[in-house]
């Protein structure tokens, strides 16, 4: 116990005195709320506003009513485009052609062909085009309904089946964008914050020739590994807590009611998140230490460990994309936690059994990594970086 205490105090002292590395680790936590704040602001704007769309209309004079109808929806004629957006809208090149015979055909009750000409594969134009189409279809439908009504026909005849959509998503679900980002960010924070400490105390110490001296001492390698793991993980936990605290503070400034979302980090959510993330901090640090000890030198360790960062960045996306994912995926570290976090943010009931099980798997894998490292540190190849 004396030994472990000494080992841990030394690791923490070194970690805390390495100001630059520490700042780097924690700056990540400080960046989180800023990114989330700005991104959600932008997204809310996109969802709630109907920005101006400028289209080139041929033959506008033939259907003034239709043009006015479009104008109500902020779909405007290209003639009125402000100068600074002119080039952009000219390139997007949306052309609506109205035939000369529009009025006459309308009177005669003949079908009128309007032509909408544009690049339909342009992602940025998807929503404006949808708006144009909806608007024209709505305009046509309302005229059609009036025609039927005038002839004394119930318009409901046109709708033999009516689909009623009931949204079962909790009100929180609309805040999904923010919460998904936060979840991802928290996972990455768990991996990022302890990283400099983990590399420095393993590959760094070996390169500075202090590891050899330590391994000559009458200390079991398990204790050495545990001390290094604890110190790196504690820094990671601090990073995660800081991220959470700052984010819940920043989110309170965003008016989420605009998109009908109520998103809050209450004490229950926060404690559940911490319960999920603390084992991940330990797992991440163990993985990083393991890889760093395996590599030949500091540089190699750095590049190898950076690859590990991809795990929290990619796994949640992968699980989201997979439609029918295998069951065992829910139990793995990182994947399991990200799924539970998703439920937590959606406001769905959390499956405590799954949570306990995932945590257990994470802890067991961490222990295995520790034991493997303790074994490795006894091998001359790893100690002297001969491999």
């Amino acid at each position: 116990m004396i030994q472990f205490k000494a080992l841990l105090t030394k690791e923490l002292k070194e970690a805390l005195r390495d100001r630059r590395a520490l700042m780097m680790a924690l700056s990540f936590a400080i960046m989180a709320p800023i990114i989330i704040f700005t991104m959600s602001k932008v997204m809310i704007n996109k969802i709630t506003e109907t920005p101006e769309v400028y289209i080139k209309i041929n033959g506008a004079e033939f259907a003034p009513k239709l043009i006015k109808h479009l104008k109500d929806e902020n779909i405007l004629s290209f003639k009125r485009v402000p100068d600074d957006e002119k080039i952009m809208w000219d390139e997007r090149d949306v052309i609506l052609t109205i035939p000369k015979t529009f009025n006459q055909d309308m009177l005669d009750g003949k079908p009128i062909e309007l032509i909408l000409n544009t690049d339909y594969s342009d992602k940025a134009m998807m929503s404006p085009i949808r708006r144009i189409k909806d608007k024209i279809r709505g305009y046509a439908q309302s005229i059609g309904y009036k025609r039927l009504l005038v002839r004394g026909i119930d318009v409901r005849l046109l709708q033999p089946i009516k689909l009623i959509e009931q949204n079962t998503a909790m009100p929180n679900s609309n805040a999904m964008i923010i919460s998904m980002m936060l979840g991802l960010y928290l996972l990455i924070a768990a991996f990022m914050s302890g990283l400099p400490v983990a590399i420095d105390s393993s590959a760094g110490e070996r390169e500075r020739n202090v590891l050899e001296m330590l391994l000559c001492q009458p200390v079991s390698t398990v204790k050495i590994v545990l001390a290094k793991l604890t110190s790196a993980s504690l820094i990671a936990v601090v990073g995660v807590v800081l991220t959470l605290a700052l984010t819940s503070f920043a989110v309170s400034f965003i008016d989420l009611t605009k998109i009908g979302a109520s998103f809050s980090l209450d004490s229950f959510t926060i404690s559940a998140l911490l319960l999920l993330l603390i084992p991940i901090c330990f797992f991440a640090s163990a993985l990083q230490l393991f890889v760093a000890f395996q590599s030949k030198n500091f540089k190699e360790a750095q590049s190898m460990v950076s690859i590990i960062i991809l795990i929290p960045a990619m796994v949640p996306f992968a699980t989201m994309m997979m439609d029918d994912r295998p069951k065992w995926l829910d139990w793995l570290p990182v994947a399991g936690q990200s799924l539970i976090m998703e439920d937590l943010f959606k406001g769905l009931p959390v499956s405590w059994g799954l949570m306990v099980f995932t945590t257990l798997v994470t802890i067991i894998m961490t222990i295995l990594l520790v034991l493997a490292m303790a074994r490795k540190l006894k091998s001359e190849k790893v100690v002297l970086a001969l491999s």
Binding site: Q3, N209, V210, E212, C216
Partner: protein, 252 residues
Amino acid sequence: MIEVNNLRKTFAGDKKGKENRVIALDGLSFTANNGEITGILGPNGAGKTTCLRTLYGLLKADSGYATIDGINVVENPLLARKEIGIFPDKFGLYERLTAYEQIDYFASLHGLQGEAKHQAIETVIRDLEMTELAHRKTAGFSQGQRMKVTLAQALVHQPKNFVLDEPTRGLDVMSTRVLRNYLARFKKKGHCILFSSHVMQEVAALCDRVIIVANGKLAAQGTPTELCELAGESNLEEAFVKIIGSDEGVAA
């Protein structure tokens, strides 16, 4: 007491085959007794460091064994390491800690605590004349100062056996004297001191017994005078060159 018996150690080189294999130790045996300073002399690459690393249990010998106070270092590494103070071949310092904190760290690793630990640290700092350095961070220490810190952390727990791998490299005369007096004092108290060196005068002045290692084997052993007589030379350096059979490595 440190005993090394018939140690053999081969490094694989690369995977291709046997051509690149390096035989570092080829049946080396010797004993370092309590109350004596034993010096290991040998040209570069003779296997001195490999032998000492095997003693701390950092390397595992292919065959043969080493014991410290009768404890086999392979079977019982933790127990054996408790009995030795190690000054390794490659050493670094924790540059973010002060000298005192480092010595404290190693003292704690040896199980010292409380007042006993404090006393032990103060004593070793005083003995090595490094009071002024004690509370400075070790980043930027000179070679001699680094050496002192490493020595202090190796010897703070007053081990029965000292193993020093070229402790005087880079030390100035004053520091070398401090070290020499320090070792002589422990010799009188009955400790076993084993150290490797290249500096002939020092070995001649300090060692009770000298072990000459060449090509991983014991080439000769005895007191410095005995070795000179054995080789029929008047000084140890000439004797050394004659015994190892070449003048290779003497320049180092």
